[in-house]
Symmetry: C2
Subunit: 175 residues, 2 copies
């Protein structure tokens, strides 16, 4: 890759942020397919590709998920979302692979000038959301990534809790 | 972003692969710092940034890790590696955030024309590797990402088990 291309990718990685506020503009179908294609190539333990994705096209379903959850409320205001369903057999392996694919979806959306925000379903919320999406045990549907065009406010540089990052010197050591 | 820049990023994402074979060429210090900077901006649960990174500059330490592990053997043949240390308090949250940051390191390395390969430490291997790196419970050091210049063979398109990906139609549904 040329230095310029490398820097384009590194910049895209550094600037990818959790986005929770979206405009009403729909997400272009080609963009959605590009994001899914990136997700498809995510690495996973033993290349098991253990996930199923549910594209949440139904506004009513997104609204109900937003109302039924604490950490996926922003899904209710997004023009689309991707739910990630894992096999639910090995919690730690699931979580690891799930984190990898969620991160890729975030970065791909950002590269397309969209915003994405990871949402989580937890505890008793699973009953409602699982039924809504037709997910049955042992399958685990924990992550829902909301995707849309970020509002101007959502893109504005923020400060305060939950926005900054520690300097490298605080968490890098050498051996 | 221009369409061309978007495509540069999406292509980088799609082509990032697990690399386990490296040449003897060292990893440029600026490249290593760029990778750490990308890792620094990874999102995490409640923005807790729960990780510590250990840059494995010591060849002997890498060699011993390679010899002592089943799924991190390739660390022994890499010119550098980054070990990810998690707090070890909540296994699933740790695994999720760890997967996110490991994936970013992979993509950043690929963007710099380097190759990276996630390695795992498991079971009884922890005793040896933890002691070597000075990791003490409850901290969990499970992921070591080997980084280097890929051999030509490692970059060649492969087929067979562990290389392909399912078509989207097999794991995407709609709601």
């Amino acid at each position: 890759m040329t230095d310029e291309r490398s820097e384009t990718v590194l910049r895209a990685l550094r600037r990818t942020r959790q986005i929770r506020r979206f405009t009403d503009q729909p997400v272009d179908e080609a963009a959605l397919q590009s994001i899914l294609e990136v997700a498809r190539w995510t690495g996973s333990s033993m290349n098991s590709q253990p996930w199923t994705f549910i594209v949440l096209r139904d506004e009513e379903a997104r609204r109900r998920i937003g109302e039924s959850t604490r950490y996926a409320r922003h899904v209710g205001g997004a023009p689309t979302a991707i739910a990630i369903v894992m096999p639910g057999k090995d919690p730690e392996t699931d979580a690891y692979d799930e984190g990898r694919v969620a991160e890729r979806i975030m970065i791909a959306a950002s590269a397309l000038d969209l915003g994405a925000g990871i949402g989580w379903v937890e505890g008793e919320e699973h009953a409602t959301v699982d039924e809504l999406l037709g997910v049955t045990p042992p399958a685990l549907m924990r992550t829902i990534v909301a995707i849309g065009h970020p509002t101007e406010e959502a893109l504005r540089p923020r400060s305060g809790p939950g926005t900054g990052r520690k300097p490298l010197s605080e968490f890098v050591r050498e051996r």
